[in-house]
């Protein structure tokens, strides 16, 4: 217990001292403008918008993991997926977004869990378009799924991440479901011939 408290303070310390801060409203407006523009560009085809956000997030995640490892001082490899989940929620989200989503709903095989977001810094002020479809199709913060997928892939974990509920849609919680598909073994590069 004592050690977990110490590490909690550690994240707080990293968040306060090592991370560059940016105005929250700048983030909200920038991200919002991007999502709105995507909706316009894809003619409100929200399935495509979700895919695009996920793809962007993936590309962010591929690089963000390096920043995470450098700043968080967690060089020790996670021994199991539960530990990975803890690190994502309590260190990753803490130092980049200053939020700590709750980890719940583990499956018995320990390969799937949910992150429940009590607060979502991307979604302040946001109200989804009232065209009757956005409420059912658009995952506004889908970029986060891509970030996790990209970041975990770089540390040899293939996961699937998707939102299953969102307060913006009128659900009670914002919940992301993450399932481990496999640990990626180091693969030899394909032979030339």
């Amino acid at each position: 217990m004592a050690s977990s408290k110490a590490s909690r303070l550690g994240e707080e310390y990293v968040w306060r001292t090592r991370m560059d801060k940016v105005n929250a409203e700048l983030v909200v407006l920038t991200y919002g403008a991007m999502v709105a523009q995507l909706c316009k560009d894809f003619d409100s085809d929200y399935v495509k918008v979700n895919q695009q956000l996920d793809k962007m997030g993936y590309n962010i995640g591929l690089r963000l993991i390096e920043d995470y490892l450098a700043k968080s001082n967690t060089f020790k490899r996670c021994s199991n997926f539960r530990e990975t989940a803890e690190m994502i929620a309590k260190v990753g989200f803490k130092i980049f977004l200053n939020i700590t989503p709750t980890i719940t709903n583990w499956t018995s095989d320990g390969k799937q869990f949910s992150l429940v977001f009590d607060e979502n810094p991307f979604a302040d002020f946001v109200e989804l378009p009232d065209d009757g479809r956005a409420q059912d199709e658009l995952w506004y913060s889908n970029i986060l799924c891509g970030v996790l997928r990209g970041a975990l892939e770089m540390v040899q974990m293939q996961v699937e991440a998707k939102f299953v509920s969102d307060v913006l849609r009128g659900n009670d919680t914002t919940e992301m479901r993450i399932s481990l598909i496999r640990y990626i073994d180091d693969e030899l590069p394909p032979e030339d011939d």
């Binding site: 909200v28 919002g32 403008a33 302040d124 002020f125 946001v126 109200e127 378009p129 009232d130």
Partner: protein, 165 residues
Amino acid sequence: MSYYFAVIGTQDNPLFEYEFGTSKQGGDGQSRFTEQAHHLNQFVLHSSLDIVEEVQWMNGQLYMKVIDKFFTNYISCFMTGGSVKFLLLHQPSATASGTASATRNSTSVGANPTSPQTEEAIKNFFSEVYENYVKAIMSPFYKVNMEIRSPVFRQRVAAAGRKYL
């Protein structure tokens, strides 16, 4: 006391309208406009936009108090920094003077549309609406001069109306 509130965009286009009655002195929050007044109110508000243009640079305040009067309709105005107008048409109940509680009503909010108390109440109402208006237009899916369809904003205007007027 009945109120008709409208938000007018930068091109003098209507963005939002809401009609309500007083909740003070046991009011039930329902407006008491006559059947034809519903339509007339829109014209009355719109015609006062000319006065808004005249007075908007007079004192540099966002809140311009009562700027126009049309028979028993008084119009208060608040202009945001982005020159979006909030207009509130208020109409003291015609029957108020005839009832037994007239003496008490005379000092109440709304009975005298130009009294400092009424001005203050309307100012508070406008400030609260302004705060919520800013939140509503911060939504990334809202475009400038678009009609405000947000149900949340409507609820909050209603709440502000109940609280102050």
